[in-house]
């Protein structure tokens, strides 16, 4: 039971070239995979393809195979995809329904669409509010939230669906350090306790450093590096491929370059201070 991409290629309708050009990826329950890469390398497309929304909702042609729990995404209907795989896109405000009077109703939108019993709907909304510490926003008008608040509400709305897999495209872009940490902790808990499989695109490599088991680096629609987080994020070629290495890796590299090994800046120290 995983999300599996095998040789996945994707071309948007009307586009001249592939946005994804042969990707193999497997997302297992309880694992957290980070995705890094330069902008326009194909990270967002990867999110849409892995969740099945491309090509089921976003027009385009899919090559290779993408399956969720053994079923090919192209054979699934949008609501079947939504129940298995929650996806958060880049622009928080575009993901709010625009018709909910309060944040509570915004979070209830998804579960209600699935026809869940009301008690279950309420329970999920309250749990999501709690997880992201936004209960104080429950009665607010979703149209009048700040960018950061809207981003937390949009994420909470996806969590309320309780999907087995979460695919998140830059979920902390509008958040301050506290908000970022909160989301990181919540995701870690979901993976550990609920066995949610999480794919998360981020520029904040220090967050991925703490959060993920493995990282893939996308360049021009292909996976060019993959492996344990520490290994990929410590790769000296990262910067050349358009990705900012996390502070741990940068400091280690700077120390080594200045010939300062042995001055006490050990990997253990860096690991301790970075978390």
């Amino acid at each position: 039971m995983t999300i599996r991409l095998a040789g996945a290629t994707y071309r948007y309708a009307g586009a001249r070239s592939n946005a994804l050009d042969g990707v193999d990826l497997e997302l297992a329950p309880g694992s957290v995979i980070g995705v890094v890469g330069a902008n326009e390398a194909g990270k967002s497309t990867l999110c849409l393809v892995a969740s099945g929304l491309a090509p089921v909702v976003v027009a385009g042609s899919l090559g290779g195979s993408v399956t969720i729990d053994g079923r090919k995404t192209i054979t699934m209907r949008p609501h079947e995809l939504a129940q298995r795989c929650g996806i958060l896109l880049q622009n928080p405000e575009a993901q709010l329904s625009g018709t909910a009077v309060t944040v509570f109703e915004e979070l209830a939108f998804g579960p209600r669409n699935l026809g869940l019993p009301l008690g279950s709907v309420v329970e999920r909304v309250e749990a999501s509010l709690e997880t992201l510490a936004i209960a104080h926003l429950a009665a607010r008008d979703p149209a009048r939230l700040s960018g950061g608040q809207a981003q937390l509400v949009a994420l909470a709305a996806i969590l309320a669906l309780r999907p087995a897999y979460l695919i998140l495209d830059e979920p902390t872009s509008q958040l301050d350090p506290q908000g970022t940490r909160l989301v990181g902790d919540a995701l870690r808990r979901l993976a550990a306790e609920n066995r949610t499989g999480i794919l998360v695109v981020e520029h904040k490599t220090n967050l991925l450093d703490r959060l993920t088991d493995s990282v893939v680096l996308i360049d021009e629609g292909r996976v060019v590096r993959e492996g344990p987080a520490a290994e990929v994020l410590g790769d000296p070629a990262l910067a050349a491929l358009g990705v900012e290495p996390p502070p741990r890796a940068r400091i280690r590299a700077a120390i080594a370059a200045a010939g300062l090994d042995g001055t006490g800046v050990t990997d253990a120290l860096l690991l301790e201070l970075a978390s």
Binding site: N39, E40, Q149, D176, P177, I251, A254
Partner: protein
Amino acid sequence: MIGIAIDGVAYTYPTGVRALDGVDLAVRPGETLAIIGQNGSGKSTLVRQLNGLLRPGQGRVLLDGAEVGRRHVAELARLVGLAFQDPDRQIFSGSARAEVAFGPRNLGLHGAELDRRVAEALEVVGLAGSADVNPYDLGYSRRKLLAIASVLAMRTPVVVLDEPTTGQDQRGFGRVRAIVATLAAEGRTVIAISHDMRFVAETFGRVVVMRAGRIVLDGTPADVFAEQSWGVLASTYLEPTLAARVGARLGVGSTPTEASLVAALTARM
């Protein structure tokens, strides 16, 4: 080269939220200043006092020694350029070129001189090849760079950037840093709001920490990320850079950036 004086400024939004609670800040001409703090601490409210989009409820703002007063926003726009946090609240033209040209045209430029100014600004942010593209066909991070370009084109003595590195990849990040450095070299006063502590530590000469509408810390990056300031930072959920934490642990003084950490360790050897 102009300086800024913010004198006891307080501001309450019509909704009743008291966003600024008595802020005093003097910015020297040509200084590079970063404002950090939680969402809701008053950072964006403060910078909007500089170009008149918001007017102080109490206190006053002086640009180059003259009070901002009731001068129109359009007039202040010649002195203070502001790139909004959300580029989609700022961009309104059908092409990148038209977007960048809007500001300088309002300042009276036209013809070849206008074209030159626009081309330069697009070049600096790396959008020269996308001049005729519709901004909404550019990704979010490039729209952000476009918003910055449209402010740069106005060549104002004061440039304010609200969260310029959000959503940027490594190349975009580098461009933003280079832009700040260039503006500083030209003697312009640069103010940026940011959540990125490393960007702040490495790019700015002065850092101001805001909490609940007030300034609670003000100094160089070395001052603000020094161990004795960590309590104040923690009180507003901010963390010092990893380099600062390593330096403090190894007892080599305040090392907010990787470069300063390396320098301090080298000096100790």
